[in-house]
């Protein structure tokens, strides 16, 4: 294939681009596709990236597969990924999350199945409504092999959807007629709802196709060659809106039991039929599930980064409102009106323009005026929000926040993010046994560093990091305290908080010494912003802790949701505005 031939091909395909956009409506807009004339090494001739909102075509593959005359079908299809499914990175991940649920234990197929599902919706819409001949493109690409059960099923589904003769797209291989019919109904039922139908589609494939075939690497390769490359964007990052969606982890409903799919069969809805798209509340993705999903899609985001994004999103509804700053205050003089200039006033203050405007005949003391000046209000000093020194218990009795939804981490995120939003600085420390503490090592306004500390997990013994508390508020080893202003000390824990006040042995500079309960008390006085102990503990236990906690305020919360509610209310009282907590 010469360069000239490919350049000519590129010009021809580029000329079709406006028609491809028009297939999706007169108002469709998208910048021109990237037409590669050098091999890209991708498994398909075309793909779409949600990050760049860009269509890519590998013309070398186009020529190799003999589909040069199908520019409209290919380009309109890729535009469909932008306008119908998946549209953006968030929806792409939502579809993948639902596919993951439907596939149960076939995470390696998530990307492939999600793309097949999106392709079905896009192609059916183009073929049936826009008059774009996707069927000819599919036929030109070739029918699947007789042992490619997934390809046969998809091909047969297209035949049913588009009323094509049997075998035109599915070849001579045996395809499950019943499942293809059901799949076709599913496509029509969820034509405008890619997320809603994804789990049912995956469930259908998972139940119909031999698991051994699905697990074989060569199987997925043979199916992948049938369609476009789909969404190739989003190597990293967790879009906002994924962690707080309460439906993504809902159980998948088989299309045969989905009222939306079978509801049109003349009252034949089985009694157990449910709405496939509705997952109900409380079915959101856990941090570990979200990380597994991203990993399956090729993302290199670490579990901790995913967890940090997860808690940040979950904490968002509970954060204090953004602070409202008072308007700018300057001491500049403001022009006022004109006052009479009287004899004896400074001659230079006469406003001659005003005087001449009042009367062309100047009579000092009678017609003379001077400019009045008003003083602006004094500059107000902005109240300084109280910094936060946060300690989160991460002993063995606590859940790992990177795996499951941990209320203690969520409460910590609410407190820390509220403080940061109000302009305060935060030192976040996750602690467990003696010498086991992970944190920001100082006060910072770096959200990522704070969240990394909040979601850290140790899972060891229980020993409050008194030395860090001492170093922060009292200074140690001849160094001054690391605080720079009033600071609130907050500890979220359970019974283990008692180690904060109990005399205990600790290591310092190679010599063992006993540090006592007075460190916590003295640190509180030095911090100057108060101290709170938020404890997942019984009311009796709270009394016991309160008796040893001195001026720390001990709050007992009974349930995990209460912990988050408390953190929200506490944040609003401390950083939510007004004079509360400001020094």
């Amino acid at each position: 294939m010469t360069t000239q031939v490919l350049d000519d091909l590129a010009a021809r395909w580029l000329a079709v681009w406006p028609d491809a956009l028009a297939a999706w409506g007169r108002t469709s807009r998208m910048h021109a596709p990237v037409l590669h004339t050098e091999p890209c090494g991708m498994p398909s001739w075309a793909w779409y990236t949600t990050d760049d909102v860009e269509v890519h075509i590998d013309l070398t593959v186009v020529a190799e597969r003999g589909i040069e005359d199908h520019a409209l079908a290919v380009l309109a299809h890729e535009i469909g990924h932008h306008l119908l499914a998946p549209v953006d990175r968030l929806t792409s991940l939502k579809i993948a999350a639902r596919v993951k649920v439907g596939l149960v234990d076939m995470d390696h197929l998530i990307g492939l199945v999600a793309n097949l599902w999106c392709d079905l919706l896009i192609n059916d819409r183009l073929q049936r409504r826009a008059g774009v001949d996707r069927a000819s493109l599919a036929a030109a690409v070739g029918t699947p092999d007789a042992d490619n059960v997934l390809g046969l099923l998809i091909g047969r589904t297209y035949e049913i959807l588009w009323e094509l003769p049997r075998g035109r797209l599915s070849g001579a291989g045996p395809a499950s007629e019943e499942h293809a019919h059901l799949c076709a109904r599913l496509v029509r039922a969820y034509a405008r709802d890619p997320v809603g139908g994804a789990a049912g589609f995956a469930r259908l494939l998972r139940g119909e196709i031999d698991p051994e075939w699905l697990r074989a690497p060569e199987s997925t390769g043979s199916v992948g060659a049938l369609g476009c490359g789909g969404d190739q964007g989003g190597a990293g990052g967790v879009p906002f809106g994924l962690a707080s969606d309460p439906t993504l982890a809902a159980p998948a409903t088989h299309p045969a039991l989905d009222a939306r799919v079978v509801g049109g069969t003349g009252g034949a809805t089985p009694e157990s039929a449910t709405e496939g798209a509705v997952g109900g509340g409380g079915n959101g993705l856990e941090p570990a599930a979200l990380h597994a999903l991203l990993t399956a899609l090729g993302s290199t985001t670490s579990a901790q980064q995913v967890a940090a994004a997860w808690y940040r999103e979950r904490a968002a509804p509970h954060l204090v409102p953004f602070p409202v700053r008072e308007g700018p205050t300057t001491s500049e003089q403001l022009l006022g009106g004109l006052d009479p200039w009287e004899v004896g006033d400074d001659l230079s203050t006469i406003d001659w323009s005003g005087t001449m405007a009042a009367s062309p005949v100047v009579v000092p003391g009678m017609t003379t005026v001077q400019r009045a000046y008003l003083e602006d209000e004094q500059v107000k000093s902005r109240p300084r929000p109280v910094d936060l020194d946060l300690y989160l218990d991460s002993s063995g009795s606590m859940a790992n926040p990177s795996v499951t939804a941990a209320p203690i981490a969520l409460a910590g995120a609410v407190l820390a993010l509220s403080a940061l939003r109000s302009g305060a600085r935060v030192q976040a420390t996750t602690w467990s046994g003696s010498g086991q503490a992970i944190g920001t090592e100082g006060f910072t306004r770096d959200v990522d560093a704070v969240m990394a500390a909040v979601v850290a997990y140790i899972g060891g013994g229980t020993s409050f990091p008194l030395e860090l508390l001492e170093r922060t508020h009292l200074g140690a080893d001849g160094k001054p305290p690391t605080t720079t202003g009033p600071t609130h000390i907050a500890v979220i824990s359970d019974d283990g908080v008692s180690t904060m006040f109990r005399p205990e042995a600790g290591w310092r500079a190679g010599t063992m010494r006993t540090v006592g309960s007075d460190i916590a008390t003295r640190a509180l006085e030095a911090a100057g912003g108060g101290g709170s102990l938020v404890l997942r503990i019984s009311p009796e236990g709270r009394h016991r802790i309160a008796s040893m906690a001195g001026r720390y305020r001990a709050y007992a919360v009974q349930t995990d949701p209460d912990l988050v509610t408390f953190a929200r209310d506490f944040s609003r009282a401390t950083w939510g505005g007004g004079d509360h907590g400001r020094r």
Partner: protein, 210 residues
């Protein structure tokens, strides 16, 4: 077309013709005051001059026009379907089509009555009455059912294609298919749940032994 010799099924009018005729169906056909049996009888006379005998007319009356007060939902639906079939048969593009004439084989009234009875059996109760003329997929289903029971193929389709497309739009077929799969799937899910519960029990027992 049902039980017909595949090699001898003639090609009839196009599906588009029948669908278009359905879309143009007069709203009077949905009125309960229409005497459907009279429609059928008049059509018989129009088709080949057959005057139905008294016994046939009595059967038609009893079946389709039992009188005011006896109009059940099922009967109302069947009456609408019969009215629509009569409307289709009256279409000159249909009844003068060579394929249709070949299928009727000189017995047009008998041919028409067969369609009337079979359409009722196949489609009654599947959709709300007006959907048959207002919804694309319903028009498709009724048009294909009509041609199928008229023993002709839609123009441009072979027997296998017509059969496949009929199954794709047939609510009754889809209903049976879905029922079977739903029962099968519900059973599979029940089994899955039982296995999961059993596994959880075993795991708990194992944990308790430590």
């Amino acid at each position: 077309m049902v039980d017909a010799d595949p090699a001898r099924v003639p090609s009839g009018p196009s599906l588009a013709t029948v669908r278009h005729r359905l879309a143009a169906a007069p709203p009077d056909l949905f009125e309960p005051t229409v005497v459907t049996a009279a429609l059928v009888a008049d059509l018989a006379v129009e088709l080949d001059g057959t005057v139905l005998d008294a016994a046939s007319l009595d059967r038609l009356d009893a079946d389709l026009d039992p009188g005011v007060g006896a109009l059940t939902v099922d009967l109302a639906t069947r009456r609408v379907l019969v009215g629509l079939v009569c409307w289709l048969v009256r279409d000159p593009a249909v009844r003068t089509h060579p394929g249709v004439q070949a299928a009727a084989a000189g017995q047009r009234t008998r041919w028409m009555l067969d369609i009337v009875s079979q359409v009722q059996v196949e489609l009654a109760g599947l959709r709300p009455d007006r959907d048959w003329v207002q919804l694309d997929e319903a028009r498709d289903e009724l048009a294909r059912a009509f041609l199928r029971f008229a023993r002709v193929l839609p123009a441009g389709e072979d027997l296998a294609t017509a059969q496949d497309r009929w199954l794709a739009v047939s609510t009754a077929y889809q209903r049976d298919l879905v029922r079977e799969m739903a029962v099968e799937q519900a059973r599979a899910e029940e089994l899955e749940r039982a296995l999961a519960a059993q596994k959880a029990k075993e795991a708990a027992a194992q944990y308790a032994n430590y």
